[in-house]
Symmetry: C2
Subunit: 147 residues, 2 copies
DNA sequence: AAAATAAAAGACAAATTAGTCTTTTATTAC
DNA sequence: GTAATAAAAGACTAATTTGTCTTTTATTTT
């Protein structure tokens, strides 16, 4: 459903939302190590996110990627819009050319409920709120220190 | 989530379950036309399904692919086992190395509910029952004659 | 037996996704 | 100003998925 690029992007943004600030930046190397994802791959993804205003960056010594309060007003769907080509919520689970309540496929009920729930989760709260929720509930964006 | 190969496979098996019999076989060309999928691609998929006993086939004039009552005792998960490499239900939606109730990711609740529902739909009834349900409920495996 | 038909098998080609590596540019520290 | 640092940019490679094409084999019809 999600490409690796999108998965890495979401986790990286959540990582920065929880840990970074304009005074505390993280290089692509640190992020790569923290999330256990390929460094140069995540670097390119982070650059796209900077361009679209979802995160911020600074060059040179002490530089790196970070999030501002302004950045944190974006939501997860904004991330997907930047990374993913089409709209993943438009694709038919069984490969029919269009997807909707008219002309439902045999798994329509199950899939559309899932899509709706995800859409709420990803679209109805900003990154700040999502990140707070992750912290509060103790869900994980890396298993680096767990496994 | 599912590869094109799996999507085509599921739809092709449901098509044969509803329309075929040992007396009424369908060539890869007919199936390709009915479902609007690439002929030679679906042909190779169908061959795998024959090999694993999910459908049957006959060569020569009047030959083609079809399902027997024995074939129809398989379920959709059996199809996925043949076509898909790993277990799609084991992958983490956000790309964590393992997936489970311990160490949940931020979308665990939503995703695991979806996976459970799919697992029931795909695993707890055979193709015969699934196909009957599709016919009864009028859900679609092609939009060829609809759009 | 010969011709026609259709699956089986497998070699290829194209497209997408994933990942790596190098060069350039901007910033900071000295 | 020079050196060090780290993002930005982009070329490049590898892997996977998707799709096509050709040849072979089995079956049926005449
Ligand atoms: S499950 Fe329903 S919503 Fe999803 S692709 Fe099929 S028809 Fe569309
Ligand atoms: S959502 Fe839960 S079950 Fe799904 S991958 Fe994440 S941790 Fe695993």
């Amino acid at each position: 459903m999600l490409s690796n690029a999108s998965k890495y992007a979401i986790r990286a943004v959540l990582f920065l939302a929880e840990n970074s600030s304009s005074k505390n930046k993280f290089g692509s190397k640190q992020i790569s190590a923290a999330l256990d994802v390929p460094q140069h791959f995540i670097a390119k993804i982070l650059q796209k996110l900077v361009k679209s205003g979802i995160i911020s960056s600074g060059k040179g010594p002490g530089g790196g990627f970070y999030t501002t309060p302004e950045n944190l007003k974006k939501n997860v769907l904004d991330i997907l819009k930047v990374i993913e080509k089409g709209d993943i919520f438009d694709e038919c689970f069984l490969g029919l050319p269009v997807c909707g309540d008219e002309n439902p496929c045999p798994v329509h009920d199950i899939v559309s409920k899932f899509k709706d729930a995800l859409l709420v989760k990803f679209g109805n709260q900003d990154i700040k709120s999502f990140s707070d929720e992750v912290k509060r509930e103790g869900t994980l964006i890396t298993l680096k220190n767990v496994l």
